[in-house]
Subunit: 332 residues, 4 copies
């Protein structure tokens, strides 16, 4: 892309890049798309993009060459990218005035390309049990769910978890919460998607087009409420999650589907002693732990549909309609 806009997205033929010191050259096999990629392509998302700009952040590929001093991977190693590549562990960098948003497919270049050259530390090993299309879905959607439920979620055993929706983060959340021993309630306005979520192990599905989801959660839990709610809506949706949360419950704010301003009643936040926590994907160390768990648990990411590289526009249209799980572009 040489400017913002869906119509400016086109394939360019450029020279194959060479890895400098500490860098690796990676042949991209697959890239998964996130709704944010669509916003960046169409609006720039308020980011200082460098043109020509390559969109998308999540890749799986193979190391083809390593630059001088780069020893973390060797040619032939399968790798996936890290969304916030400089965030290794602990707290992300940045400060109160300027929270950090230094990601691939944003301030840093993206991955919808046959080859990328990045510092070696921007990759982690691909879980051996996944193919490239599956592995490409981990960096944003998978790590976000892992970070919310694992790094900042405490034990899941015997807890009740509410997963809103059936997009990428949501289905990873469903799989992880079930693997961790939780009772999982999924909400959706599609009967069909609820059926598929139940087939994946969800204990209950709530059809938001038919009933008030908060009342349904209270009914299903005997008024106890949910211990952890993965909140993707934003907006006034937070207020509903606050009502559905159990005493001492936790709400992970992971998305902004309904608005960039959240609101809700303060009384129950105080009386229930709730914790509302923001999840901005996660760090590389979490991605590594998540990758090990994917292998150990035999967890298979859910891909709604795979698109050829030349059909990226159709893939973006699919994002608009909403996917069940992830959309992947086969690059290599």
């Amino acid at each position: 892309m040489d400017a913002v806009g869906r119509d400016r997205l086109k394939l360019e033929t450029v020279e194959k890049p060479k890895p400098g010191p500490g860098e690796v050259l990676v042949r991209v096999a697959a890239a998964s798309l996130n709704y944010r990629d669509k916003l960046v392509i169409e609006t720039g998302f308020g980011l200082p993009l460098a043109f020509p700009f390559t969109p998308a952040s999540d890749l799986a590929g193979v190391v083809e060459a390593a630059g001088e001093g780069a020893a973390r991977f060797k040619p032939g190693d399968r790798v996936i990218s890290a969304f916030i590549p400089e965030w290794i562990s602990g707290l992300n960098k940045g400060n109160a005035r300027t929270p950090p948003y230094r990601t691939l497919g944003g301030i840093f270049p993206g991955v919808l390309s046959d080859y990328v050259v990045f510092p070696e530390g921007w990759f982690t090993a691909t879980p051996a049990s996944l193919d490239d299309a599956q592995a490409s879905t981990l960096p944003v959607a998978g790590v976000t769910a892992w970070f919310a439920l694992m790094e900042r979620g405490g034990s899941l055993l015997g807890k009740t978890v509410v997963i809103q929706g059936t997009g990428g983060v949501s289905l990873f959340g469903l799989q992880l919460a079930k693997a961790g021993g939780a009772q999982v309630i999924v909400t959706s306005s599609s009967v069909d998607k609820l059926a598929r979520a139940k087939a994946m192990g969800a204990d209950h599905g709530i059809d938001r087009s038919q009933e008030d989801w908060v009342e349904a959660v209270l009914r299903l839990t005997g008024d106890r409420g949910a211990d952890h709610i993965v909140e993707i809506a934003g907006g006034a949706g937070l207020g509903r999650s606050i009502q559905a949360a159990a005493m001492g419950g936790r709400i992970s704010v992971v998305g902004v589907m309904e608005g960039f301003e959240v609101s809700g009643p303060v009384g129950p936040i105080m009386l229930k002693g709730l914790t509302i926590q923001g999840i901005g994907v996660g760090h590389r160390t979490a991605q590594e732990a998540f990758g090990r768990a994917v292998d150990d648990l035999g967890l298979k990411p859910v891909i709604d549909r795979r698109y050829a590289f030349e059909d990226v526009q159709a893939a973006l249209d699919h994002l608009d309609r909403g996917a069940f799980g992830k959309i992947v572009v086969d690059v290599g």
Copy 2:
């Protein structure tokens, strides 16, 4: 009171009560008032009050007699009441639909009375280093600050804490945060109150009538922001606290001065990885630990003014104007 309303508040002469099994008779020496008491007296606060109703929740007094089987205290012991008397430790009771609000001076009787008879478990020992007026300020204001900063706050050493205002909870928060090794920034719209807060140890005061407090926090911290903000405003004030919070910061929602609905931008909640936690006072075990700390640290509660029992109306007027610290009624 035989009905809701400031004009229905009057002193009644009743028979001195007797403690039943497991109960103690306590002669009240002092009661401290909270803004909530004013709301209960004037509006009922939506609570199913039992009339005749005695308002206020925080007392310090002396055990005069113990009922059958009551062995926790003996006559002569100095005690203070617990605001949520059934909440011993762990999570409070209640569920998602009906968060618990079973407090003294509400669903349970209040303490503006020469004598009260309550179950022995509804009291804790008075810290030896405090007089009764001082000790009466602990159950709501003191325990709230302790619960936010200690039980759910992690270590304070080297952290930057923002305390909003100079009311009861705020000044306890200032004292505890300083005792815990934090840098403390106090906000107020009164130059005089800021001067008194600094005299108590506040590192910085921000005059909200003169400058934007969020910008001032960023300036004072070199844009790093605040690690923990004790948020008493509610309403859109939460959004300002979100902007002032550091990476990985924590916001304790302890009050509703500006509204029962909170709102704020979701972007920085996610990008900063914030934790927003509701604090609804605290449990009896926390009150006991806080009491020990008060003695150990030599912490003296700040009382703005003491009123005679017959001047309760003037004390309530003072609450309306806003106090620097606590208002106490000398009962016995």
Copy 3:
């Protein structure tokens, strides 16, 4: 029993007790035995037992009558006992000089009896999915495993857990760690027991009679080590667990099979940043949460063998030989 000694254990016919205020009368259906019961019966275990003494601490039964003011349960409710009945949540009572050991079948009376009368707060509801024999195994063995892995263990998802042995605590640990998404390694010196543990879901079994278990853990984890080790041996066994633990690993000390003094190398404790934590069963709130999880997860306790009330001596002999899971006495 009117004195310490296996030969002093005999059935007595006494009058059916009546519940006093706040108490309930429970008809005992089943009691599970712990190795500790054998030590108490044979040696007194250093406890100030009150004679005549009824041994054993874990019962499942039915409430037959409630005393005045007892409203927690009603006649017909199925209940199980709490091992440390006064420990509701938070920290147990007691102090540094005198750690608390106020348990049923010890300082308090035991449960090998047709009827018991205890305060109503000493019981929790029986999980609906268990029969009485199964439910009787929860108070000590089940709650210990739950407390180690859940209350003080953090998330299990993707972690490697080593379970030593195949006794009561160990098999609950195996079931819970698998339900929580961990890879589980069981050690035993019996090929047969290892086969049964694998049939229950253990990922790996290590035959301690054939190989060094620490080396085997390192081999199975590619030298990474175990994230959490449930240590039942005590003695110098702790040193082996220290060697088998991963960086940042956790060792739960739950038993004293090999000695009352633990020892181990300090270097790896420091270099690995290990956490060694003592688990002394757990509180009533944990038992309640565990009970809900048992129902939600469909977890079935493993009973090696059930004995008739008159065959308690044979049951104690079985404890001596070592059981696979739990030994239960059918009382009612």
Copy 4:
């Protein structure tokens, strides 16, 4: 040094090194010594040292030149070294079989030298409020105390902390625990050192040559015991700390003065629900947070004595006798 041995320690004149890519040249102003340095010099400490070997790990100095691409510091910046320079945050690298011990003055070169050239990431900014001699004491002794009490210690406010001894880690522990609002008990076998510890703020001193320190802790706490014990002894000393610990208490194992094998009674570990945690200094992110806190709190490291560069042998002799706080060598 060209071989292990006190007599092989000598000043060599070598060419001033040049920083390569990503490295900085630092002129050393001061180096503080740790007992471990003495062991490395005299015995090699079992490490694969590269000769010629420069001992000691803790420096304060000034950046004189930065190599290509090194942007973390600029010439003139004051810096201190990180003891385990590759450990940035989260868990240290390494595995169960080979816990990491990749430190300066060990596997990596040491700092008793006019100049060092290290990767820029091996340094952190010197706290502005300290001179170089003071700042040189932070990397091992200061960070160890900070990591034990802050990163892995929870809040200190109102807690009782026992500090064993008056060496470098111990006095930092005393200062931090007091700054954090704890009651601090120091043990020593020197009346004089106890007096100096009290002058620094210790609430109580226990003379180990005159009384049993565990009994004294119980006496001083009314049998409640200590919430956190900084255990420097190792050996059977751990058993004493276990006896002195409060219910739910924490013991930080930071040293091995009395032996490389720890031992203690398992009963109280379980009944008190203790946490015993190993502290192997700490990561660079902790050192940065500690540095900020040093400035904020105005904390001044305690230096027992400063030695000229040519008097290193006398400084090592002083280590043998035991120092009150730290020993510093003025290098530059």
